[in-house]
Symmetry: C2
Subunit: 207 residues, 2 copies
Amino acid sequence: MDDSTGSRAKATAGGRRYHHGDLRRALLETAEAMLREDPSWQFTLREVARRAGVSHTAPYNHFEDKAALLAELALMGFDRLREACLAAMPGPGAELRAEYLAVARAYVSFGVENPGLYRLMFSQEAGAAVHENPRSRAAFGVMLEMLERGQREGLLRKRRVRSQAAACWAEVHGITMLTMDGLFRRETVGRKALDEALETLLEGLEP
Amino acid sequence: MDDSTGSRAKATAGGRRYHHGDLRRALLETAEAMLREDPSWQFTLREVARRAGVSHTAPYNHFEDKAALLAELALMGFDRLREACLAAMPGPGAELRAEYLAVARAYVSFGVENPGLYRLMFSQEAGAAVHENPRSRAAFGVMLEMLERGQREGLLRKRRVRSQAAACWAEVHGITMLTMDGLFRRETVGRKALDEALETLLEGLEP
DNA sequence: CTCCAATGTAGACAACGGCAACATAGGGCG
DNA sequence: CGCCCTATGTTGCCGTTGTCTACATTGGAG
């Protein structure tokens, strides 16, 4: 599982090579895989390098820092979160209500299915730079745009869109975190709690 | 600031003593102080011990683990969060609406004023044991009881209380986290965004 | 072909979490 | 009173980590 991983290396078809070919990507993928296998894993650069089959200092040719790798990983997470939300959006003819629920469910699902990655995305270790990066803002743009459209079409209560978007965003983020922490389990909080919580907020948004 | 800290030591009034007197409490207080001074501080047991004026292994007489100290610190945070929410509650004659806003604001304020501690409370490092502890559940009980009362008095839409509580809790938790991450700043999201977001949810709760 | 920049390796360092062995205190017991 | 036992603290050590410096190996530009 060493060089057969990517095989999208740029070099010729030679056998084992001294240079990895695309170590940067390999490191990110390895780290994400380890995070998925054990969400509570205490991130160690050396272990990533080990598993990627390189020496423990090789990563420093591609990342300034351990924190830099974490940050890039977090940004990849935001990209994928955005894609997941966009993919869940029904066609352009759908009702706002259905669209809202679909996006919100997709958001929470992403977090619950990638707890390690999701936690990293909002952790301190990723660094403040992540949260100021357009790539993370873009993930929230999905919901913001949806609400903007809804208000333009008069489907939402007249109020600052950004406030409403903030409320939605906080709601899904909060639900996601609490679910991951095991505080939002079915047994604890009811079976359809997620949908009911989402609808409660939705009814506050509607006129 | 060594032995004048607590002075609630059990021993006689002798001068400097070999035994600390109440090292356990001192360690927790020191750790919390360091967390407050630098919310992004990477917790190190040795540094806590150093600052508390003891050797780097002394903490092991009072805590199983680094994680155990973190966990106790997190539980203390939940205690204080609960107290802050209770303290913010107006008298028993107040309207539910005012009560809800007061508690929610107190909750968010606590997080924003103690970002390091708040983050720890919900971090992986604190361990799952924290979130299953009654002391952390009690903090959320404040909001839960408030909503239960509201529903009993018919001030809330008929719906599973636990779902509504979950929605509220997720909302305030989400707002708190996003504010701490700098994603909920006034410039970004509007001046009264917090209140508007809270009211948006409130209107979804009311009949 | 030659040389150079990019990339990867080896070794060292300080700091960390945690263990083991030892030191000190202070109270219960004769 | 003196002894000793347990709780508490200290020193020293180990393996691991992040990161620095020095060196090795490439593959492509000239």
